[in-house]
């Protein structure tokens, strides 16, 4: 019981620290933290579908982008409060997940990954095309944001929600069943597990949060445009963060997002021109040397429960 208590109190201390951070940190620190929370939520969401079921969503940023546009349009055209508009970003993201997940989750392996990759490109093209509604390539400008502190808490709450949900899932049979799909879908199906439905549920859950994060991001960035909210690199970044921390674990995405964000911030500040190349090398390194991620390795070596 004692290590459990220790871990819990550590967690509480960290949470308390984060809760008061905006009162001490500079605008830059708060802004940086918002982006770290954003990555935690995104990496955690990706984990829900891909870490658990093994279906690689290579276009997850589509949900983020759709959420961002929803938020932006609700704020500018309908005059909604940003918090509500951000939360509303989850709805079209879920709708998109339903429409695309229903047919595409039947595709296996690389075909699903490529279909998702294409999805992102298509959503971006459509957003650009329906110019009257979305502003096309010039995007949507929002009123300037006066304080980013509320966004800090909102984004933090989403990151926490994703993590708690992941914990909840992993400790119930739903989570085990998702894992069984990853391990051997056919065997799971033959054992009476309705894999199609479970995959769709997981996909929906994993789309909802990027939608919300996107909505908040729109408010935070004060501007959305197709190129800035649908980049493939965002998907890759969330994947690599999740992988680095440990896919299929609770705190893997959190750890991965935190460490890599700090790392990127430092590298990018110091080594201006090589940081992208370093990122590429990092991806190769993670895939080849530690595909299980930090927590995955610890889990295996020290037989830690899946709930770390």
């Amino acid at each position: 019981m004692s290590p459990m208590v220790g871990a819990l109190s550590l967690l509480l201390v960290i949470l308390a620290g984060l809760a008061v951070l905006p009162f001490f940190g500079s605008g830059y620190v708060v802004s940086f933290s918002i982006q770290v929370f954003m990555w935690m939520a995104l990496a955690g969401s990706w984990n829900l579908i891909s870490g658990f079921t093994g279906y690689v969503s290579f276009g997850h940023v589509a949900f983020f982008g759709v959420g961002a546009y929803t938020g932006a349009l609700l704020i500018t055209k309908a005059g909604w409060h940003w918090l509500l508009a951000g939360l509303a970003g989850s709805l079209p993201a879920a709708a998109l997940a339903l429409v695309i997940g229903y047919p595409c989750l039947r595709l296996k392996g690389p075909y699903f990954a490529i279909a998702m990759l294409g999805l992102n490109e298509v959503v971006r093209a459509l957003v650009s095309y329906f110019e009257g509604f979305t502003g096309g390539g010039s995007g949507v400008s929002l009123p300037p944001i006066l304080s980013i502190v509320p966004v800090y808490y909102a984004m933090g709450a989403v990151a926490m929600a994703v993590t708690l949900l992941t914990y909840r899932i992993i400790t119930c049979q739903f989570g085990l069943r998702l894992l069984s799909i990853r391990e051997d879908e056919m065997a799971a199906e033959v054992m009476g597990i309705n894999t199609a439905r479970l995959k769709l549920y997981a996909f929906l859950l994993s789309a909802v949060f990027p939608g919300i994060v996107g909505g908040f991001y729109a408010w935070y960035a004060s501007h959305v445009e197709p190129l800035s909210v649908f980049p493939l690199l965002t998907t890759i970044t969330m994947i690599i963060m999740c992988l680095f921390g440990g896919k299929g674990t609770v705190f893997g995405p959190v750890l991965g997002a935190g460490l890599l964000s700090v790392f990127q911030e430092l590298v990018w500040a110091r080594f201006l021109f090589v940081h992208q190349a370093i990122f590429g090398a990092l991806i190769v390194g993670v895939v080849l040397l530690m595909p299980r991620g930090i927590l995955g390795v610890l889990q295996e070596r020290y037989r830690l429960p899946r709930t770390i």
């Binding site: 490109e121 093209a125 590429g280 993670v286 895939v287």
Partner: protein, 292 residues
């Protein structure tokens, strides 16, 4: 927004330029298809290899004044070696791993190479001003660089087929792609075949790059669009169906051309995607049949 009357001439002109583009897609996609067929690896770095081929041609042209089509004899072997090295160092470790590993690994390789290229050669757009202008056939303009590239692409694709069907190594590659385990049991050195296949795939991408360089700008991220297109071609033609890749390429060029004529360039991508999903769902073995 557009109020263009579509005429027969335009239609014909677009069909022609669609097919010209398609020939190149076919060549590039064949490389991806070989790698995918043999190793089940989607090589996201395929476009980057194409870029390296394009730069090879560019530099030979800019520094030594070499004819870009002649430079194929340099870019093909160079890219073969690059491909083989990548296979030897990295890719072979993920051949039997879940697809996430190979997707990410090749993506990582791709941004690494592209950014090193950017450091070395800057992000500037460069071009090989070799053949410019067009042959005029009445109202139809046949772009010189595209026409010649198309013919060369066709010839190279043909050569690749001859290699696959007539040589021992080529046959071994086809056998491995049809049944990896059986091929192994039959005494084929699968590791060696992987190496050759990746080299060959990279060489085809490089050749594609050399040909692209006479038509479009050369820059470090030029290859990105070709990865998705190539995959689309594979799906249309059927995975593991190499002649399918050829017809898939032509088909994609045609569909893109027509979509951008009747709709807009932006929507042609959407049409291509819808086509992809439908084919995957309705005929997962590709329009021309292949291995599921």
């Amino acid at each position: 927004m557009t109020s263009v009357q579509i005429t027969g001439t335009m239609l014909f002109q677009l069909v022609v330029s669609g097919l010209l583009a398609g020939g190149l897609y076919a060549l590039v996609a064949l490389g991806l298809s070989l790698i995918f067929g043999v190793m089940r690896v989607i090589n996201i770095a395929h476009g980057t290899l194409l870029m390296l081929g394009a730069y090879t041609t560019y530099w030979l042209f800019a520094l030594a004044g070499m004819n870009p089509f002649v430079s194929l004899v340099v870019s093909i072997p160079i890219l073969f070696v690059v491909g083989a090295i990548l296979q030897k160092l990295f890719v072979h470790r993920v051949v039997n791993a879940p697809e996430l590993s190979s997707l990410l690994l090749t993506f990582g390789i791709s941004i690494f190479i592209a950014n090193v290229a950017m450091l070395a050669w800057s992000a500037d757009y460069r071009s090989v001003e070799f053949l410019t202008g067009s042959f005029l056939l009445g109202p139809i303009a046949l772009s010189k660089p595209r026409l010649v590239s198309f013919c060369v692409a066709l010839a190279l694709t043909g050569l690749a087929f001859v290699f696959l069907h007539r040589t021992k190594t080529g046959k071994a590659i086809r056998a491995t792609s049809q049944h990896r385990d059986v091929a192994q049991v039959c005494g084929i050195n699968v590791r060696r075949i992987d190496l050759i296949t990746f080299g060959l795939g990279a060489a085809l991408a490089g050749a594609g790059g050399s040909l692209v360089s006479v038509m479009f700008a050369v820059y470090p991220e030029m290859g990105q669009v070709y990865v998705f297109k190539s995959f689309l071609v594979i799906v249309l033609g059927g995975a593991g169906n190499y002649p399918g890749a050829f017809f898939g390429g032509l088909l994609l060029g045609l569909v893109e051309g027509l979509a951008s004529l009747f709709l807009t360039a932006q929507l042609s991508e959407v049409i291509a995607y819808i086509l992809l999903v439908i084919v995957l769902l309705v005929r997962p073995t590709g329009l021309l049949g292949g291995r599921a």
